[in-house]
C-alpha cells in the first residue's frame, strides 16, 4: 500500500475512535446542533490561525473552546436553542469564509478545509491526530461516570455530589479537541457527521451505553475504510465518501429493531 494511503487510514481511524464516545454523548444529550455549531466555527479558527501566524489547528481549538463555552452559557429570552445554534453556526461559518478570503494560505486550500483532504495528511498530522485521540480517550475515562450521570439526570447527579458545570465544561473542551482533530479528515462542514452518524447507527444494536460507544467506534472505523476504498476506486472526494459510508451503515441499522 502507498504511504499516503496508510497515513490517511491511520488518520481516519484515529478520528473515528476519538469521535465515537463523544458522538454517543452528543446523541444522548441531544446536542447534535451544538456539535454542528462548534464545528462550523472551526473555519474561523483556521483563518485566525493563519492570520496570527500560529498553527491553524491551535486556532481551531481556541475558537471552538470559546464558542463552546459561550454556547453553554448563553440562553435566549424568546428563542429555542435550535434556532440560536443555527444563528451561531451559520454566522460563524460566514465570518470564517470572509476572514479566510483575506488569508492567502486558506484561500488556496478552502475546499480542503471545508471538505477535508485526508489523502494529503502528513506524518506529523497523523502523530497529532493520535496524540489528540489518546488525550481525548484518557480524559473521557476520568470524566465518564459523572458525565453519564449528568446526562441521565443533571439535578439528580448534582444532589449526588457531581459538579455539573465542571463536567459539562470539560465535555465541551474535549469536543473542541475532536473538532480540531477531524478538520483534515472530513472538513468543517462534515465534522459533525463523524460524531453523530456512527453513534446513531450503533444505537439499534446496543443495550448499554458502553456497548453503544464501542459499536460507534467500530462503525466509524468501518466508515473510514468504506470511504477510503470508494475514494481510491472511483476517485470520489475522500471526506464525503467517508460520510456517505457512515450514512450507508446508518440506513442498514435503521432496519434493525431497537433493543
Amino acid at each position: 500500500m502507498d504511504d499516503f494511503i496508510v497515513r490517511a487510514l491511520l488518520a481516519g481511524v484515529g478520528v473515528a475512535l476519538a469521535a465515537a464516545p463523544l458522538g454517543a454523548f452528543i446523541v444522548w444529550r441531544k446536542m447534535a446542533y451544538f456539535g454542528g455549531a462548534i464545528s462550523h466555527t472551526a473555519l474561523l479558527g483556521v483563518a485566525l490561525g493563519f492570520l496570527l501566524g500560529i498553527n491553524p489547528i491551535i486556532g481551531v481549538v481556541l475558537v471552538s473552546v470559546v464558542a463552546g463555552l459561550m454556547l453553554l452559557g448563553y440562553r435566549g429570552r424568546y428563542l429555542g436553542n435550535d434556532t440560536l445554534l443555527g444563528v451561531i453556526a451559520h454566522g460563524a461559518l460566514a465570518l470564517g469564509l470572509i476572514v479566510a478570503s483575506t488569508v492567502d494560505g486558506v484561500r488556496v486550500d478552502l475546499m480542503a478545509f471545508l471538505f477535508g483532504d485526508i489523502l494529503s495528511v502528513s506524518a506529523g498530522d497523523v502523530y497529532f491526530i493520535w496524540a489528540g485521540c489518546v488525550l481525548v480517550i484518557v480524559a473521557l475515562g476520568f470524566l465518564y461516570k459523572p458525565l453519564l450521570a449528568v446526562t441521565v439526570h443533571s439535578e439528580l447527579a448534582a444532589v449526588e455530589g457531581t459538579n455539573v458545570r465542571l463536567v459539562e465544561t470539560a465535555f465541551v473542551l474535549l469536543l473542541a479537541v475532536v473538532v480540531a482533530l477531524s478538520i483534515k479528515v472530513v472538513g468543517v462542514l462534515l465534522i459533525a457527521s463523524m460524531l453523530i452518524i456512527p453513534a446513531a447507527s450503533a444505537r439499534a444494536f446496543s443495550s448499554t451505553p458502553e456497548r453503544m460507544i464501542i459499536l460507534a467506534a467500530v462503525m466509524g472505523v468501518v466508515s473510514v475504510g468504506l470511504g477510503m476504498g470508494a475514494s481510491l476506486e472511483f476517485d470520489w472526494p475522500a471526506g464525503p465518501a467517508i460520510v456517505a459510508g457512515a450514512t450507508a451503515l446508518y440506513i442498514i441499522s435503521a432496519f434493525k429493531k431497537a433493543a
Partner: protein, 258 residues
C-alpha cells in the same frame, strides 16, 4: 413528634426561606425541618412552591432570603419528580442503579438487594425506557437506597402510578423508614393516602400556612379553606381507620395478588 436531642438528630432545616425566580416570588419565608426517622410531607395547591422549597433544601436553587441547613456530610437519596430516560440512550435497570453511586456500594449483590427491597427484582435487565411509571419510581427509590442515605427526598413519589400502586408505594416508603431509620421529606398534592403515612404535614402556599400532625392540620381553618370541607373531613377520618385498614387490607390484597 418528640425529639430527644434535636440538634444531633436534625438532618435539614429551612429557616424563613424566600425564593424569587424571574421576578416572581415563589416562596415567602417558608420554614421546615426534618429530623432522623421522621416522615415530613409538604402539601399544597399547584404553584404553592412545594418543589421549589425541596430544591432549595437540596441546594439546587439558591434562596434569595433565609437560611438552609444541611447536616455536614449528609447523604441524600433523591427521587426527582419525573425521570425520563430518553430512548436514545440504551440503559438497563441494573446499569442505571450503579450511576451516581460509589463503586463499592454498587456491587451486583447490593443492586439485587435494592431491587428486592422495592419489589422489582424481575425487571433488572429491562430497558429503562420500556418500564412503567410505577416501576420507574421504584427503580429511582432503589437507586436512592443503594447510597445508604440518611435522608430521602421524594418529590411526588406516586405521580403517574395507579391507586393500588400508590398505596403500595407509600407502604414501601414507610417500611424503609422503619427499617433504616432515615428521615423522609415528601412532596405531594394527593392528600388522602399520603397523610396517613406521615408524621408531620406542612401545608405550603408560598409560606407555611400550618403544620403539625395530619389530624391537627386537617382541622386547621387555613387548610380547610385551601382544600375545602369535604377533603378536610375525609382526611380527619382517615388516620382513625388506618391501623385497621392496613392489617385487614394488607392480607386481602396479598391474597389477590398471589
Amino acid at each position: 413528634m418528640s425529639r430527644p436531642n434535636p440538634d444531633k438528630n436534625l438532618l435539614v432545616s429551612a429557616d424563613n426561606v424566600s425564593v424569587e425566580l424571574n421576578g416572581n416570588e415563589i416562596l415567602l419565608g417558608a420554614s421546615l425541618s426534618v429530623a432522623k426517622g421522621e416522615v415530613v410531607t409538604i402539601v399544597g395547591p399547584n404553584g404553592a412552591g412545594k418543589t421549589t422549597l425541596v430544591r432549595a433544601i437540596l441546594g439546587l436553587v439558591i434562596p434569595t432570603g433565609g437560611h438552609i441547613y444541611r447536616r455536614p456530610g449528609l447523604n441524600i437519596g433523591y427521587m426527582p419528580q419525573k425521570l425520563h430516560i430518553d430512548p436514545t440512550m440504551p440503559m438497563t435497570v441494573n446499569r442505571f442503579l450503579a450511576l451516581g453511586v460509589p463503586a463499592k456500594l454498587a456491587g451486583q449483590g447490593r443492586r439485587k438487594n435494592a431491587l428486592d427491597e422495592v419489589g422489582i427484582e424481575h425487571i433488572s435487565n429491562s430497558q429503562m425506557h420500556n418500564i412503567s411509571g410505577g416501576e420507574t419510581q421504584r427503580v429511582m427509590l432503589a437507586r436512592a437506597l443503594l447510597r445508604d442515605p440518611d435522608f430521602l427526598v421524594l418529590d411526588e413519589p406516586v405521580q403517574g402510578v395507579d391507586i393500588t400502586g400508590q398505596a403500595d408505594l407509600y407502604r414501601l416508603i414507610r417500611n424503609i423508614r422503619k427499617n433504616r431509620g432515615v428521615g423522609v421529606l415528601m412532596v405531594s398534592h394527593d392528600l388522602h393516602v399520603v397523610m396517613a403515612e406521615t408524621d408531620r404535614v406542612i401545608c405550603l402556599n408560598r409560606h407555611v400556612c400550618c403544620e403539625g400532625h395530619p389530624e391537627t392540620v386537617s382541622k386547621h381553618p387555613e387548610f380547610v379553606q385551601m382544600f375545602g370541607d369535604q377533603v378536610a373531613n375525609s382526611i380527619a377520618l382517615y388516620p382513625h381507620n388506618h391501623d385497621h385498614h392496613h392489617d385487614v387490607h394488607g392480607d386481602i390484597k396479598g391474597g389477590e395478588n398471589g
